[in-house]
Every structure is written in structure tokens, then in C-alpha cells.
Symmetry: C2
Subunit: 321 residues, 2 copies
């Protein structure tokens, strides 16, 4: 395998310093009821409390803060229907620069509103990857904005790594960390942080069985793209990238898959027991514990709660009255 490009330890430490004035150092929560249930010690790093409601703000902010004045003057751009869009728009607004966001026209209303609220300049397009990429390309040509990819970017990976770095600063004796995997930005950052800042910490990713391209790529040793994925965990639909895949192959210990019912059950457990709102993608590692695919035993295990952006308009608030 060719040499793997990775952010080094200093790059992650610098990312942590760089973003600290802009973002939350999120809390690490524990839940005695859930610990009792599994006989484990679980430490939840709560990125649902992060700015813009997800870990994505870490990478986006770390990337934007490294642009030079010429780049800043032209703004940033990306295509995203999800949390990266809002995170990039917020990061750009904090620096007073423009963020051009290409969004599929069928994007979730909540995500569109979040991007608008943070001042992102939205261009809608057909909901296909081709249309998204073409629209972004035209936009980049027109604006000279800098593209900030949601995960296949060393600055993004270093930013996402700061979540696990903080977790290990707070609880240095954590022995295992689990994170969900979609494009692999969070997972590759988590694996690097575990290597740099932990004491032989095992890193196990969890993925929905309905979007198991990362698991199949990992097990087979050759990149398999995500084709027609089906899962409620809408943050985990994307394929791994050319930068994230080799990092994951080298630094991640295992990837396990879980069914939709377990994701639902894990999400409900966290809502009911911990009284926090997490999005389906965040529930995937706990679902893996529920399915006994992820064996935490009596280890001290960290779980990265990736975000908390859920469309509550689907909830029966009206009927409750």
C-alpha cells in the first residue's frame, strides 16, 4: 500500500488550540442506568452540544481558520445536505467570509434553515451526486471560492480528531473508543487521536448494515463505494474517501454493522435515560453494544455522540395537546 498521509500529533494539537475560541469543549456524560444495563463504564463525548449541533463544526472551523487572506476574500464552498453544510456556514460567518453551499432541493427543511440562519448562500440542485458535483464546480469557477470537502481533507480530519483528543484528556484511562462511520472523517480522526493521545486504546467503528460500504471495504481490503444505501442514520450514507480510507485501514481495529431496529432502540435509550437529543447516526455505536457486536465488557469505553440534529416536526407535538 502507498504511504498513508495523516495529520500528525502536532496538527491535531494545533487544531485543538485553533478552534478553542470558536467552539465548545463539549461535556463527557455518563449514565448509571445504561452502565448498569451493560455492566460497563461508558463515556459519551457529546458533540450534539457542539456549535451547529454536530462534530462537523470542528473540522470546518479548523479548515477555514487556515485559509490565507486571498482565499478568505473569495469565501468557501461545499456540497452537502447535512451537518457539514451548517458547520461550514457557521464557521465562515464567524470569520465574516462567504460560504456557498450546494444543497439538493429535497434537503431536510431543518438543515436548510440552519444554513440560512448562519448566513450560508445556498444554491439548490437536483438530488443526484452528478448534479451536486457539477453545480459546485460551476460555482467554484464563478466565485473562486475554496472547496472545503466534508471529510476527505487533512484539515477536516485533524479537526474531527479533537473530539477524541479532548475525551482522552478528560479520561486518560479509556481503553476503547467507538465512533460511527460515514465518509470516515470522524473515524479516521478518532483513530489517530486514540493512537497519539491514548494508552493503547482500541478503536472500533459502527456502521448501519444498510450502508455497510466502510465495513466491506475494511474487511475486503479494497475500496467499495456506497451504492444506494438505506438507513435512518442519514449522516452515514457517504462513501469513504481516498484520504480517510487508508487511515482507517491502518489505524482502526474493527468495523461492525448494526440493524435499524437496534439504532432505534439505542437512540430511544439515550433520549429516555440520558435526557439528551441525539440523531440516529450517533446511536450506531450503542446499537452495536446492544447487538453484542461491540464487546465493551467491563472496559472503560468512550463513545463519540456525533450530533443532535433531528427534525422534530415529525414528532407528535401537535397531538400531545
Amino acid at each position: 500500500m502507498a504511504e498513508v498521509h495523516v495529520p500528525d500529533k502536532a496538527a491535531i494539537e494545533q487544531a485543538g488550540k485553533r478552534i478553542s475560541g470558536y467552539l465548545h469543549r463539549t461535556p463527557v456524560l455518563t449514565c448509571s442506568a445504561i452502565n448498569r444495563m451493560f455492566g460497563s463504564e461508558l463515556y459519551f463525548k457529546c458533540e450534539n452540544f457542539q456549535k451547529a449541533g454536530a462534530f462537523k463544526s470542528r473540522g470546518a472551523t479548523n479548515a477555514v481558520l487556515q485559509l490565507n487572506p486571498d482565499e478568505l476574500a473569495c469565501g468557501v464552498a461545499t456540497h452537502s445536505s447535512g451537518n457539514h453544510a451548517a458547520a461550514l456556514a457557521l464557521a465562515a460567518s464567524r470569520l465574516g467570509i462567504r460560504a456557498y453551499i450546494v444543497m439538493p432541493e429535497n434537503s431536510n427543511r431543518i438543515k436548510i434553515n440552519a444554513v440560512k440562519e448562519y448566513g450560508g448562500i445556498i444554491t439548490f440542485c437536483e438530488p443526484t451526486l452528478e448534479a451536486r458535483e457539477l453545480t459546485l464546480k460551476l460555482l467554484l469557477n464563478k466565485t473562486s471560492a475554496t472547496e472545503i470537502h466534508p471529510y476527505n481533507d487533512l484539515r477536516i480530519i485533524a479537526g474531527q480528531a479533537t473530539a477524541a483528543m479532548e475525551l482522552l484528556e478528560d479520561f486518560p484511562d479509556i481503553q476503547m473508543i467507538s465512533a460511527p462511520v460515514g465518509g470516515g472523517g470522524l473515524l479516521s480522526g478518532t483513530a489517530l487521536a486514540a493512537r497519539y493521545f491514548g494508552r493503547s486504546v482500541k478503536v472500533v467503528a459502527a456502521e448501519p448494515a444498510g450502508a455497510d460500504d466502510a465495513c466491506r471495504s475494511f474487511k475486503s481490503g479494497s475500496f467499495i463505494p456506497s451504492v444506494n444505501p438505506k438507513t435512518m442514520a442519514d449522516g452515514l450514507l457517504t462513501s469513504l474517501g481516498s484520504i480517510t480510507y487508508p487511515i482507517i485501514m491502518k489505524y482502526v481495529d474493527d468495523i461492525v454493522t448494526v440493524g435499524e431496529e437496534s439504532i432505534t432502540e439505542a437512540m430511544k435509550m439515550v433520549w429516555e435515560r440520558m435526557k439528551i437529543i441525539i440523531e440516529p447516526s450517533s446511536a450506531v455505536p450503542l446499537a452495536a453494544i446492544l447487538e453484542k457486536k461491540l464487546h465493551v465488557g467491563n472496559l472503560k469505553a468512550g463513545i463519540i455522540i456525533s450530533g443532535g440534529n433531528v427534525d422534530l416536526s415529525a414528532l407528535p407535538f401537535k397531538q400531545v395537546i
Copy 2:
């Protein structure tokens, strides 16, 4: 008016020390999005993160810890369909004593399960106040257990007061505190803590218009019981008590009422923006800000989030798949 019996400052400080080894010192959260919306500085004291999911654990634990050995030997008892039942069962279990809980047979499944999980001994009865009181009386005769009333008890009031005491310890320059009012245990404790530990802190209670007995009692100056209340805020259905009412008359600055739609909107706002689960009762003060009944202006204002016990089985988790 006759002399008002109140827990003094020392009683509340002692309650704080007494319960500290048993309960959480809950976090105080802020939310920049909500603050921007109202141009205010709101500090949310998060009792939804308290043991058993509500502030009720404070009073119940404070009461149980003051029983003498003879009383402990016979256990405690109460009638409750709500958070007090679970709180008392948990407090008793921590001391290894029995908790007899009379619950109406139509109680919420979640609340029944919580009481069972904490080892409470449940006696079901018809869902009327008469049946509840009679069943409890028979039980007390049979067991010689000590009744722990959910709010009309100085030990309970002193316990509930510790939430506002902690809030003011963390943020001494808070100028106003708002809490919901049902039986008045939380409200009277909050008002006393504001008086003892704050620097001229105004205390304004918020109540659902569909259960406005406290407001009408407060405005008229004569006790009006709660008759056939209708609100989604199921923690606020009860009447004030003979101990809580005079404290509220003397120490609370105002009581305002809000509609069900505002409670829904406020609850949704907290779920969406703060990513925390709060129960409808907890949303009532924020609903009062939304309705411009509670004028926080640019004050530093504290809000007691009373609990987070919501029946999620009513939420469309199954449909999401």
C-alpha cells in the same frame, strides 16, 4: 395571616450537604441561539439530569435522610402518579428501606416502570383523589410507614430549594428566577433560596392556563383548589398545600399563565436548540417568555428545568425506520 412556617437558611444549606452524596449537582446550561432570540441571558438549571429525572429527588432524599431508626425500619409511603413516586422509591432504595407507593391504575407505563425499577412496592387504586388517599391511609395503618408528602412538607421544600441555591452559587448575579408551579414545593423552595442566597432576585412562577389554581389563589389572596385541570404539563395538576401556599403568597413576586401551544413551542425549542429532553412542565417558564408574560428583558434570568421524564413511546420511532 397566621405566621408562615418556612425552612430557614440553615435548613436549606443542611439539605444541600445532606443530599450531596446521593444526588447530582446538575449542570446549568446556556444556549446562544435562545439568548439571541430573546435578547436575554438565560441560565437553565437542568433538573432533567437529576437522579430519577426530576428535581423531586432532592426533596425526597432530604426527607428520607432525616428519618429516625424506628421510622426507617417501617419504611416510607406516598401516593403519586408522577415523579415524586420514582424519586421516593429511589431515595428509599439507596437507604435500603421500603417505599410503599400508591399509584392510580391508569398511571403512565414509564412512571410505573421507574418505580418498579427502583424497588418501590406499588399498590394500585382507582384514579380518584379519594381512592388514592383512602388506599394510602389503609397502607399507613397496616405498615406504620412514614408518609412523605410530595410537596406540603418542610423537609421536601428545603430539598427542592437546593436547586435554586446551587444555581445562585454558580451564578450569583442572577436577577430573576422562574419556575413552574403545581403543588408549590419547587416554587416555595425556589423563592426561599432566592431570598436567602440571591442579591434581590425576583421570583416569577409560570403555570398552564388550563391549571391556573395557583395564579388565581395568588391574585385573589384566598386558596382556590385545582378542579378538573387540563394541560399537557402533567406535573402541574395538583393544588397548592397549606404550607406551600403561604410561602408563595409571601415570597413570590408574580405568577403568570400560559397556553398549551406556547408550552409545546417552548418544549420544542429546547429539544431542537439545546438538544436536551425536557418534560412539558419544564417548558412552562420559557413559554411565559415566548408569550411576553414573563419579561426578562436583558436581565440575567435563571429557569428551573424541573424534569425530563417524557413517554417516548408516543413518538414515531417505529415510523422512522
